[in-house]
Protein backbone atom coordinates (compact mmCIF):
# COMPACT_ATOMS: atom_id res chain seq x y z
CA UNK A 1 0.00 0.00 0.00
CA UNK A 2 1.36 3.41 -0.89
CA UNK A 3 1.02 6.57 1.18
CA UNK A 4 -1.75 8.08 -0.93
CA UNK A 5 -3.92 4.98 -0.68
CA UNK A 6 -3.24 4.85 3.04
CA UNK A 7 -4.40 8.42 3.56
CA UNK A 8 -7.56 7.85 1.59
CA UNK A 9 -8.47 5.19 4.13
CA UNK A 10 -8.03 7.42 7.18
CA UNK A 11 -11.71 8.37 7.40
CA UNK A 12 -12.97 4.84 7.10
CA UNK A 13 -10.37 3.65 9.58
CA UNK A 14 -11.32 6.33 12.07
CA UNK A 15 -15.02 5.52 11.71
CA UNK A 16 -14.21 1.84 11.90
CA UNK A 17 -16.09 1.28 8.67
CA UNK A 18 -13.05 -0.17 6.89
CA UNK A 19 -13.11 -3.78 5.74
CA UNK A 20 -10.80 -6.07 7.61
CA UNK A 21 -8.31 -6.90 4.86
CA UNK A 22 -7.70 -3.24 4.09
CA UNK A 23 -7.51 -2.56 7.79
CA UNK A 24 -4.65 -5.04 8.09
CA UNK A 25 -2.88 -3.45 5.12
CA UNK A 26 -3.31 0.03 6.51
CA UNK A 27 -2.10 -0.91 9.96
CA UNK A 28 0.91 -2.56 8.42
CA UNK A 29 1.63 0.59 6.45
CA UNK A 30 1.24 2.80 9.52
CA UNK A 31 3.67 0.59 11.40
CA UNK A 32 6.22 0.87 8.60
CA UNK A 33 5.75 4.46 7.49
CA UNK A 34 6.49 7.01 10.15
CA UNK A 35 5.14 9.90 8.08
CA UNK A 36 1.73 8.36 7.58
CA UNK A 37 1.62 7.31 11.20
CA UNK A 38 2.19 10.89 12.29
CA UNK A 39 -0.26 12.16 9.69
CA UNK A 40 -2.87 9.79 11.07
CA UNK A 41 -2.42 10.99 14.65
CA UNK A 42 -2.76 14.57 13.46
CA UNK A 43 -5.83 13.57 11.49
CA UNK A 44 -7.38 11.95 14.53
CA UNK A 45 -6.49 14.90 16.69
CA UNK A 46 -7.96 17.40 14.23
CA UNK A 47 -11.22 15.46 14.13
CA UNK A 48 -11.37 15.30 17.90
CA UNK A 49 -10.95 19.07 17.99
CA UNK A 50 -13.81 19.48 15.54
CA UNK A 51 -16.01 17.35 17.72
CA UNK A 52 -15.29 19.62 20.64
CA UNK A 53 -16.14 22.93 19.03
CA UNK A 54 -18.38 24.62 21.57
CA UNK A 55 -21.99 25.52 20.86
CA UNK A 56 -22.66 29.22 20.76
CA UNK A 57 -25.95 30.72 21.85
CA UNK A 58 -27.88 32.78 19.33
CA UNK A 59 -27.93 36.45 20.27
CA UNK A 60 -30.46 37.47 22.89
CA UNK A 61 -33.71 38.35 21.20
CA UNK A 62 -32.96 36.27 18.13
CA UNK A 63 -36.25 34.42 18.29
CA UNK A 64 -38.16 37.60 18.97
CA UNK A 65 -36.65 39.24 15.92
CA UNK A 66 -37.51 36.23 13.77
CA UNK A 67 -41.09 36.35 14.97
CA UNK A 68 -41.28 40.09 14.42
CA UNK A 69 -40.31 39.51 10.81
CA UNK A 70 -42.77 36.65 10.54
CA UNK A 71 -45.51 39.05 11.66
CA UNK A 72 -44.49 41.60 9.04
CA UNK A 73 -44.32 38.93 6.33
CA UNK A 74 -47.66 37.55 7.34
CA UNK A 75 -49.32 40.92 6.88
CA UNK A 76 -47.86 41.72 3.54
CA UNK A 77 -48.02 39.31 0.71
CA UNK A 78 -44.54 38.08 0.03
CA UNK A 79 -42.82 40.22 -2.52
CA UNK A 80 -40.44 38.63 -4.93
CA UNK A 81 -40.14 34.97 -4.20
CA UNK A 82 -36.83 33.41 -4.90
CA UNK A 83 -36.97 29.80 -5.80
CA UNK A 84 -34.36 28.09 -3.82
CA UNK A 85 -34.51 24.53 -4.85
CA UNK A 86 -31.05 23.87 -6.10
CA UNK A 87 -29.70 21.11 -8.19
CA UNK A 88 -27.13 19.84 -5.78
CA UNK A 89 -25.42 17.54 -8.19
CA UNK A 90 -24.63 20.54 -10.32
CA UNK A 91 -23.66 22.77 -7.46
CA UNK A 92 -21.21 20.24 -6.25
CA UNK A 93 -19.81 18.83 -9.41
CA UNK A 94 -19.28 21.99 -11.38
CA UNK A 95 -17.40 23.50 -8.46
CA UNK A 96 -17.88 26.72 -6.71
CA UNK A 97 -17.55 29.64 -9.10
CA UNK A 98 -19.61 27.86 -11.67
CA UNK A 99 -22.68 27.66 -9.53
CA UNK A 100 -24.24 30.75 -10.96
CA UNK A 101 -23.60 29.29 -14.35
CA UNK A 102 -25.06 26.00 -13.28
CA UNK A 103 -28.29 27.64 -12.21
CA UNK A 104 -28.41 29.59 -15.43
CA UNK A 105 -27.92 26.39 -17.33
CA UNK A 106 -30.64 24.65 -15.42
CA UNK A 107 -33.03 27.41 -16.30
CA UNK A 108 -31.96 27.37 -19.91
CA UNK A 109 -32.38 23.64 -20.02
CA UNK A 110 -35.85 24.02 -18.55
CA UNK A 111 -36.53 26.60 -21.19
CA UNK A 112 -35.34 24.43 -24.02
CA UNK A 113 -37.29 21.49 -22.71
CA UNK A 114 -40.42 23.55 -22.39
CA UNK A 115 -39.91 24.81 -25.90
CA UNK A 116 -40.03 21.27 -27.07
CA UNK A 117 -42.87 20.11 -24.92
CA UNK A 118 -45.02 23.18 -25.11
CA UNK A 119 -45.24 24.92 -28.45
CA UNK A 120 -43.87 28.46 -28.86
CA UNK A 121 -43.40 30.14 -25.58
CA UNK A 122 -42.85 33.68 -24.66
CA UNK A 123 -41.73 33.29 -21.13
CA UNK A 124 -39.85 35.99 -19.37
CA UNK A 125 -36.90 33.67 -19.50
CA UNK A 126 -36.58 34.42 -23.13
CA UNK A 127 -36.18 38.06 -22.33
CA UNK A 128 -33.84 37.40 -19.47
CA UNK A 129 -31.48 34.86 -20.82
CA UNK A 130 -31.70 35.03 -24.55
CA UNK A 131 -32.43 38.70 -25.01
CA UNK A 132 -35.06 37.50 -27.40
CA UNK A 133 -37.84 39.78 -28.44
CA UNK A 134 -41.17 38.30 -27.58
CA UNK A 135 -43.04 37.33 -30.67
CA UNK A 136 -46.77 37.09 -30.95
CA UNK A 137 -48.02 34.32 -28.76
CA UNK A 138 -49.86 31.59 -30.61
CA UNK A 139 -53.15 32.23 -28.97
CA UNK A 140 -55.06 32.49 -32.19
CA UNK A 141 -56.26 28.94 -31.75
CA UNK A 142 -58.56 29.98 -28.96
CA UNK A 143 -61.65 27.99 -28.49
CA UNK A 144 -64.26 30.68 -28.66
CA UNK A 145 -66.69 28.51 -26.79
CA UNK A 146 -64.54 28.33 -23.74
CA UNK A 147 -63.91 30.87 -21.16
CA UNK A 148 -61.72 33.81 -21.72
CA UNK A 149 -61.02 36.05 -18.84
CA UNK A 150 -59.93 39.59 -19.39
CA UNK A 151 -58.66 39.76 -15.87
CA UNK A 152 -58.78 43.18 -14.46
CA UNK A 153 -57.13 42.00 -11.33
CA UNK A 154 -59.09 43.47 -8.44
CA UNK A 155 -59.41 47.17 -7.65
CA UNK A 156 -56.24 46.77 -5.64
CA UNK A 157 -54.27 46.25 -8.75
CA UNK A 158 -53.62 49.99 -8.88
CA UNK A 159 -54.92 50.48 -12.39
CA UNK A 160 -52.91 47.75 -13.91
CA UNK A 161 -49.68 48.80 -12.28
CA UNK A 162 -49.07 45.31 -11.01
CA UNK A 163 -49.10 42.07 -12.91
CA UNK A 164 -52.32 41.44 -14.78
CA UNK A 165 -53.03 37.76 -15.15
CA UNK A 166 -55.20 36.64 -17.98
CA UNK A 167 -56.26 33.10 -18.47
CA UNK A 168 -57.11 31.83 -21.90
CA UNK A 169 -58.04 28.39 -22.97
CA UNK A 170 -56.35 26.97 -25.96
CA UNK A 171 -57.93 23.97 -27.58
CA UNK A 172 -56.88 20.47 -26.68
CA UNK A 173 -56.46 20.93 -22.98
CA UNK A 174 -53.89 23.67 -22.88
CA UNK A 175 -54.26 26.82 -20.86
CA UNK A 176 -52.46 29.98 -21.70
CA UNK A 177 -51.53 32.20 -18.82
CA UNK A 178 -50.85 35.69 -20.09
CA UNK A 179 -48.89 38.13 -18.04
CA UNK A 180 -49.00 41.79 -18.74
CA UNK A 181 -49.00 45.13 -17.04
CA UNK A 182 -49.84 48.74 -17.67
CA UNK A 183 -46.81 49.75 -15.72
CA UNK A 184 -43.81 51.14 -17.54
CA UNK A 185 -41.58 49.79 -14.84
CA UNK A 186 -40.72 46.13 -15.14
CA UNK A 187 -42.80 43.74 -13.10
CA UNK A 188 -40.68 40.79 -12.04
CA UNK A 189 -42.37 37.45 -11.81
CA UNK A 190 -41.67 33.89 -10.81
CA UNK A 191 -43.94 31.12 -11.87
CA UNK A 192 -43.95 27.60 -10.62
CA UNK A 193 -45.89 25.12 -12.69
CA UNK A 194 -45.74 21.77 -10.96
CA UNK A 195 -42.10 22.23 -10.08
CA UNK A 196 -40.96 23.83 -13.33
CA UNK A 197 -39.97 27.37 -12.65
CA UNK A 198 -39.94 30.38 -14.87
CA UNK A 199 -38.97 33.88 -14.07
CA UNK A 200 -38.69 37.10 -15.92
CA UNK A 201 -40.09 40.56 -16.36
CA UNK A 202 -42.94 42.18 -18.21
CA UNK A 203 -43.39 45.83 -19.03
CA UNK A 204 -46.30 47.59 -20.69
CA UNK A 205 -45.33 46.80 -24.24
CA UNK A 206 -43.81 43.41 -23.61
CA UNK A 207 -46.32 40.91 -22.33
CA UNK A 208 -45.51 37.29 -21.76
CA UNK A 209 -47.47 34.12 -22.06
CA UNK A 210 -46.94 30.67 -20.68
CA UNK A 211 -48.73 27.61 -21.83
CA UNK A 212 -49.87 25.34 -19.09
CA UNK A 213 -50.99 21.85 -19.93
CA UNK A 214 -54.27 20.90 -18.29
CA UNK A 215 -53.91 18.27 -15.57
CA UNK A 216 -55.07 14.74 -16.11
CA UNK A 217 -58.72 14.07 -15.74
CA UNK A 218 -60.06 14.49 -12.23
CA UNK A 219 -57.09 16.38 -10.87
CA UNK A 220 -56.15 20.00 -10.43
CA UNK A 221 -53.04 21.83 -11.54
CA UNK A 222 -51.86 24.52 -9.17
CA UNK A 223 -49.74 27.30 -10.60
CA UNK A 224 -47.96 29.72 -8.29
CA UNK A 225 -47.24 33.18 -9.51
CA UNK A 226 -45.19 35.60 -7.48
CA UNK A 227 -44.52 39.05 -8.76
CA UNK A 228 -43.18 42.33 -7.57
CA UNK A 229 -42.86 45.85 -8.77
CA UNK A 230 -40.57 47.90 -6.59
CA UNK A 231 -41.54 47.20 -3.03
CA UNK A 232 -44.98 46.05 -3.91
CA UNK A 233 -45.82 42.55 -4.88
CA UNK A 234 -48.16 39.68 -4.54
CA UNK A 235 -48.35 35.97 -4.51
CA UNK A 236 -51.14 34.48 -6.57
CA UNK A 237 -52.27 30.94 -6.97
CA UNK A 238 -54.12 29.63 -9.98
CA UNK A 239 -56.16 26.45 -9.77
CA UNK A 240 -56.80 24.80 -13.09
CA UNK A 241 -59.19 21.89 -13.62
CA UNK A 242 -58.62 19.17 -16.19
CA UNK A 243 -61.46 20.65 -18.16
CA UNK A 244 -63.37 23.87 -17.88
CA UNK A 245 -67.06 23.22 -17.73
CA UNK A 246 -69.03 26.05 -19.18
CA UNK A 247 -72.50 24.98 -18.11
CA UNK A 248 -73.37 25.46 -14.48
CA UNK A 249 -73.96 22.37 -12.37
CA UNK A 250 -75.01 21.92 -8.77
CA UNK A 251 -73.10 19.79 -6.31
CA UNK A 252 -73.38 18.58 -2.77
CA UNK A 253 -70.35 17.92 -0.63
CA UNK A 254 -68.77 18.88 2.65
CA UNK A 255 -65.30 19.91 3.65
CA UNK A 256 -63.70 19.42 7.02
CA UNK A 257 -60.50 20.57 8.67
CA UNK A 258 -59.24 22.08 5.48
CA UNK A 259 -57.53 25.25 4.39
CA UNK A 260 -58.71 27.86 1.93
CA UNK A 261 -56.36 26.30 -0.60
CA UNK A 262 -57.96 22.88 -0.06
CA UNK A 263 -61.40 24.40 -0.55
CA UNK A 264 -60.39 26.09 -3.81
CA UNK A 265 -58.80 22.93 -5.11
CA UNK A 266 -61.94 20.99 -4.31
CA UNK A 267 -64.27 23.50 -5.94
CA UNK A 268 -62.00 23.68 -8.97
CA UNK A 269 -62.19 19.91 -9.34
CA UNK A 270 -65.88 19.48 -8.51
CA UNK A 271 -67.17 22.17 -10.84
CA UNK A 272 -64.48 22.37 -13.50
CA UNK A 273 -63.83 26.03 -12.85
CA UNK A 274 -60.52 27.89 -12.82
CA UNK A 275 -59.76 30.00 -9.79
CA UNK A 276 -57.20 32.75 -9.44
CA UNK A 277 -56.61 33.59 -5.80
CA UNK A 278 -54.41 35.56 -3.50
CA UNK A 279 -54.21 36.03 0.26
CA UNK A 280 -53.35 33.63 3.03
CA UNK A 281 -54.63 30.44 1.49
CA UNK A 282 -53.28 28.49 4.45
CA UNK A 283 -56.10 29.85 6.58
CA UNK A 284 -58.07 27.03 8.19
CA UNK A 285 -61.59 26.21 7.18
CA UNK A 286 -63.01 24.09 9.97
CA UNK A 287 -66.15 22.93 8.22
CA UNK A 288 -68.26 23.83 5.25
CA UNK A 289 -71.34 22.20 3.85
CA UNK A 290 -72.21 22.69 0.22
CA UNK A 291 -75.72 21.56 -0.62
CA UNK A 292 -76.97 21.50 -4.18
CA UNK A 293 -74.97 24.58 -4.85
CA UNK A 294 -73.65 26.34 -7.92
CA UNK A 295 -69.97 27.26 -7.92
CA UNK A 296 -70.86 30.79 -6.85
CA UNK A 297 -72.84 29.53 -3.88
CA UNK A 298 -70.22 26.96 -2.98
CA UNK A 299 -67.47 29.57 -2.98
CA UNK A 300 -69.61 31.87 -0.87
CA UNK A 301 -70.53 29.10 1.54
CA UNK A 302 -66.93 28.02 2.10
CA UNK A 303 -65.15 31.34 2.02
CA UNK A 304 -67.41 33.94 3.51
CA UNK A 305 -66.86 32.98 7.12
CA UNK A 306 -63.08 32.89 6.74
CA UNK A 307 -62.83 36.35 5.28
CA UNK A 308 -62.53 35.63 1.58
CA UNK A 309 -64.78 36.60 -1.28
CA UNK A 310 -65.11 35.24 -4.76
CA UNK A 311 -66.48 36.70 -7.91
CA UNK A 312 -66.78 35.47 -11.42
CA UNK A 313 -64.61 37.18 -13.99
CA UNK A 314 -65.68 35.10 -16.96
CA UNK A 315 -67.62 31.94 -17.56
CA UNK A 316 -66.02 29.28 -15.34
CA UNK A 317 -63.29 31.56 -14.07
CA UNK A 318 -63.33 33.02 -10.59
CA UNK A 319 -61.19 35.44 -8.69
CA UNK A 320 -60.80 34.92 -4.95
CA UNK A 321 -59.37 37.46 -2.56
CA UNK A 322 -59.48 38.42 1.10
CA UNK A 323 -62.27 40.74 2.15
CA UNK A 324 -60.73 44.03 3.07
Amino acid sequence: MNCKAARNLFSAYLDNSIDSSRKVDLEKHLADCEQCDRAYSRFRYAISMLERLPDVNPPAGFRASVMARVEVERRKVPARVRWWSIDWQKVFTIRVPARALAVGLAVLIAFVISLQVLPPLRTGIAGLFLAQKPSEAPISTLDQESARAPMPWTPENRNGQGLILTLDVVQSGVYCLKLHTKSLKPVAFDIDISGTKYSGFVVADKPSAIKVPAPRSGSVRVVHVAWSIGEWGRYQTVFLPSKLRSRAVVKTFSIEKATVADVLRRICREYGVAIIAWGNLGKPVAYAQVYQATPDDALYECLNRVGFKAYGVAASIYAVEPVR
Binding site: S11, F43, Y45, A46, R52, L53, D55, P58, N280, P284
Partner: protein, 209 residues
Amino acid sequence: MLENSVGARAGSFGDYEQLGEDVLIERCKAGDTAAFDEIVRRFEKRVFNYALRVTGNYNDACDVAQEAFIRAFHSIQTFRGDAKFATWIYRIVTNVYLDERKKLKSHPTTSLDDTIELDENSVTRQIEDSTPSPDEIVQTKERMRILQRAINALPDYQRIIITLYHVEHRSYEEIAEILKLPIGTVKSRLNRARLAIAEMLESEPELFG
Protein backbone atom coordinates in the same frame (compact mmCIF):
# COMPACT_ATOMS: atom_id res chain seq x y z
CA MET B 1 -28.78 23.92 26.60
CA LEU B 2 -32.45 23.11 26.37
CA GLU B 3 -33.91 25.70 28.66
CA ASN B 4 -31.84 28.80 28.70
CA SER B 5 -34.23 31.28 27.24
CA VAL B 6 -34.39 33.16 30.51
CA GLY B 7 -37.77 34.67 31.12
CA ALA B 8 -38.48 34.77 27.44
CA ARG B 9 -41.47 32.55 27.91
CA ALA B 10 -43.96 33.95 30.30
CA GLY B 11 -45.80 30.65 30.38
CA SER B 12 -48.62 31.70 28.13
CA PHE B 13 -47.39 29.38 25.39
CA GLY B 14 -46.83 26.63 27.88
CA ASP B 15 -49.06 24.19 26.02
CA TYR B 16 -47.04 24.44 22.88
CA GLU B 17 -43.97 23.10 24.59
CA GLN B 18 -45.82 19.86 25.18
CA LEU B 19 -46.85 19.43 21.58
CA GLY B 20 -45.20 17.03 19.18
CA GLU B 21 -43.38 18.30 16.15
CA ASP B 22 -46.01 17.04 13.70
CA VAL B 23 -48.83 18.74 15.58
CA LEU B 24 -46.90 22.00 15.66
CA ILE B 25 -46.28 21.81 11.94
CA GLU B 26 -49.95 21.15 11.26
CA ARG B 27 -50.79 24.23 13.27
CA CYS B 28 -48.18 26.27 11.42
CA LYS B 29 -49.75 25.21 8.17
CA ALA B 30 -53.08 26.43 9.44
CA GLY B 31 -51.54 29.84 10.04
CA ASP B 32 -50.86 29.58 13.79
CA THR B 33 -47.81 31.74 14.37
CA ALA B 34 -47.53 30.75 18.03
CA ALA B 35 -46.82 27.23 16.79
CA PHE B 36 -44.13 28.59 14.52
CA ASP B 37 -42.68 30.49 17.46
CA GLU B 38 -42.32 27.19 19.29
CA ILE B 39 -40.61 25.66 16.25
CA VAL B 40 -38.14 28.54 16.23
CA ARG B 41 -37.52 28.04 19.95
CA ARG B 42 -36.76 24.37 19.44
CA PHE B 43 -34.46 24.79 16.47
CA GLU B 44 -32.87 28.21 16.87
CA LYS B 45 -29.76 26.94 18.57
CA ARG B 46 -29.01 24.23 15.99
CA VAL B 47 -29.85 26.50 13.08
CA PHE B 48 -27.70 29.27 14.49
CA ASN B 49 -24.69 27.08 15.22
CA TYR B 50 -24.84 25.45 11.82
CA ALA B 51 -25.05 28.87 10.17
CA LEU B 52 -22.20 30.07 12.36
CA ARG B 53 -19.80 27.30 11.41
CA VAL B 54 -20.69 27.50 7.76
CA THR B 55 -20.48 31.28 7.45
CA GLY B 56 -17.64 31.54 9.97
CA ASN B 57 -19.01 34.84 11.07
CA TYR B 58 -21.38 35.85 13.84
CA ASN B 59 -23.23 38.59 11.98
CA ASP B 60 -23.67 36.54 8.85
CA ALA B 61 -24.85 33.62 10.95
CA CYS B 62 -27.58 35.84 12.41
CA ASP B 63 -28.69 36.88 8.93
CA VAL B 64 -28.62 33.40 7.48
CA ALA B 65 -30.38 31.83 10.45
CA GLN B 66 -33.09 34.46 10.42
CA GLU B 67 -33.60 34.24 6.68
CA ALA B 68 -33.81 30.46 6.94
CA PHE B 69 -36.64 30.67 9.46
CA ILE B 70 -38.48 33.17 7.29
CA ARG B 71 -38.17 30.85 4.31
CA ALA B 72 -39.32 27.97 6.43
CA PHE B 73 -42.33 30.04 7.45
CA HIS B 74 -43.18 30.83 3.86
CA SER B 75 -42.78 27.32 2.60
CA ILE B 76 -44.14 25.38 5.55
CA GLN B 77 -47.06 24.33 3.34
CA THR B 78 -44.64 22.35 1.19
CA PHE B 79 -43.16 20.48 4.12
CA ARG B 80 -44.28 16.89 4.08
CA GLY B 81 -44.03 14.57 6.98
CA ASP B 82 -41.81 12.13 5.11
CA ALA B 83 -38.63 13.90 6.22
CA LYS B 84 -37.73 15.07 9.68
CA PHE B 85 -38.23 18.75 10.23
CA ALA B 86 -34.57 19.02 11.26
CA THR B 87 -33.48 17.63 7.89
CA TRP B 88 -35.73 20.07 6.12
CA ILE B 89 -34.52 23.09 8.06
CA TYR B 90 -30.86 22.14 7.59
CA ARG B 91 -31.54 22.03 3.89
CA ILE B 92 -33.11 25.47 3.97
CA VAL B 93 -30.20 26.93 5.94
CA THR B 94 -27.77 25.42 3.44
CA ASN B 95 -29.70 26.87 0.53
CA VAL B 96 -29.91 30.29 2.15
CA TYR B 97 -26.17 30.21 2.72
CA LEU B 98 -25.42 29.22 -0.87
CA ASP B 99 -27.82 31.84 -2.21
CA GLU B 100 -26.50 34.61 -0.04
CA ARG B 101 -22.82 33.86 0.17
CA LYS B 102 -21.83 36.38 -2.49
CA LYS B 103 -23.62 39.09 -0.62
CA LEU B 104 -22.24 37.86 2.67
CA LYS B 105 -18.67 37.93 1.51
CA SER B 106 -18.94 41.31 -0.07
CA HIS B 107 -20.04 43.22 2.98
CA PRO B 108 -17.44 43.96 5.58
CA THR B 109 -17.28 41.12 7.97
CA THR B 110 -15.98 40.67 11.39
CA SER B 111 -14.41 37.31 11.69
CA LEU B 112 -15.60 34.67 14.06
CA ASP B 113 -12.72 35.02 16.46
CA ASP B 114 -13.34 38.74 16.91
CA THR B 115 -16.94 38.44 17.84
CA ILE B 116 -17.29 35.24 19.74
CA GLU B 117 -16.21 35.42 23.28
CA LEU B 118 -16.12 31.87 24.45
CA ASP B 119 -17.47 31.74 27.93
CA GLU B 120 -15.30 30.17 30.56
CA ASN B 121 -17.49 27.09 30.80
CA SER B 122 -17.15 26.13 27.21
CA VAL B 123 -13.42 26.66 27.41
CA THR B 124 -13.23 24.57 30.53
CA ARG B 125 -15.08 21.81 28.75
CA GLN B 126 -12.37 21.74 26.15
CA ILE B 127 -9.74 20.96 28.72
CA GLU B 128 -9.75 17.66 30.41
CA ASP B 129 -8.13 18.84 33.65
CA SER B 130 -10.51 20.01 36.27
CA THR B 131 -8.89 23.38 36.77
CA PRO B 132 -7.46 24.88 33.60
CA SER B 133 -4.71 27.39 34.09
CA PRO B 134 -5.04 30.79 32.42
CA ASP B 135 -2.44 29.61 29.94
CA GLU B 136 -4.51 26.62 29.01
CA ILE B 137 -7.59 28.76 28.54
CA VAL B 138 -5.67 31.05 26.24
CA GLN B 139 -4.29 28.09 24.34
CA THR B 140 -7.71 26.49 23.94
CA LYS B 141 -9.19 29.71 22.64
CA GLU B 142 -6.32 29.97 20.23
CA ARG B 143 -6.91 26.42 19.02
CA MET B 144 -10.59 27.06 18.49
CA ARG B 145 -9.79 30.20 16.55
CA ILE B 146 -7.34 28.39 14.29
CA LEU B 147 -9.74 25.51 13.84
CA GLN B 148 -12.54 27.83 12.71
CA ARG B 149 -10.11 29.52 10.36
CA ALA B 150 -9.27 26.15 8.87
CA ILE B 151 -12.98 25.35 8.45
CA ASN B 152 -13.46 28.72 6.76
CA ALA B 153 -10.71 27.91 4.31
CA LEU B 154 -12.49 24.81 3.03
CA PRO B 155 -14.53 24.92 -0.16
CA ASP B 156 -18.24 25.43 0.53
CA TYR B 157 -19.33 21.87 0.07
CA GLN B 158 -16.57 20.45 2.26
CA ARG B 159 -17.34 22.99 4.97
CA ILE B 160 -21.04 22.18 4.80
CA ILE B 161 -20.47 18.46 5.03
CA ILE B 162 -17.88 18.61 7.80
CA THR B 163 -20.11 20.90 9.85
CA LEU B 164 -23.16 18.71 9.40
CA TYR B 165 -21.21 15.64 10.42
CA HIS B 166 -18.91 16.81 13.19
CA VAL B 167 -20.69 19.82 14.64
CA GLU B 168 -24.31 18.96 13.99
CA HIS B 169 -23.76 15.22 14.36
CA ARG B 170 -25.94 14.26 11.42
CA SER B 171 -25.62 10.75 10.02
CA TYR B 172 -24.36 10.05 6.51
CA GLU B 173 -27.90 9.15 5.52
CA GLU B 174 -29.31 12.39 6.81
CA ILE B 175 -26.58 14.49 5.18
CA ALA B 176 -27.27 12.70 1.92
CA GLU B 177 -30.92 13.67 2.31
CA ILE B 178 -30.17 17.27 3.27
CA LEU B 179 -27.85 17.79 0.31
CA LYS B 180 -29.60 15.41 -2.08
CA LEU B 181 -26.33 13.65 -2.75
CA PRO B 182 -25.55 9.94 -2.84
CA ILE B 183 -24.15 8.58 0.43
CA GLY B 184 -20.92 7.53 -1.27
CA THR B 185 -20.34 11.10 -2.40
CA VAL B 186 -21.00 12.39 1.10
CA LYS B 187 -18.46 9.95 2.52
CA SER B 188 -15.74 10.70 0.01
CA ARG B 189 -16.23 14.43 0.42
CA LEU B 190 -16.14 14.16 4.16
CA ASN B 191 -12.86 12.26 3.89
CA ARG B 192 -11.39 14.96 1.68
CA ALA B 193 -12.56 17.68 4.04
CA ARG B 194 -11.07 15.90 7.04
CA LEU B 195 -7.74 15.45 5.29
CA ALA B 196 -7.75 19.09 4.29
CA ILE B 197 -8.42 20.20 7.86
CA ALA B 198 -5.70 17.94 9.22
CA GLU B 199 -3.28 19.30 6.65
CA MET B 200 -4.08 22.89 7.48
CA LEU B 201 -3.56 22.25 11.17
CA GLU B 202 -0.15 20.78 10.44
CA SER B 203 1.08 24.29 9.85
CA GLU B 204 0.34 25.07 13.48
CA PRO B 205 2.61 22.53 15.13
CA GLU B 206 2.90 24.42 18.40
CA LEU B 207 -0.82 24.04 18.97
CA PHE B 208 -1.64 20.85 17.17
CA GLY B 209 1.63 18.99 17.44
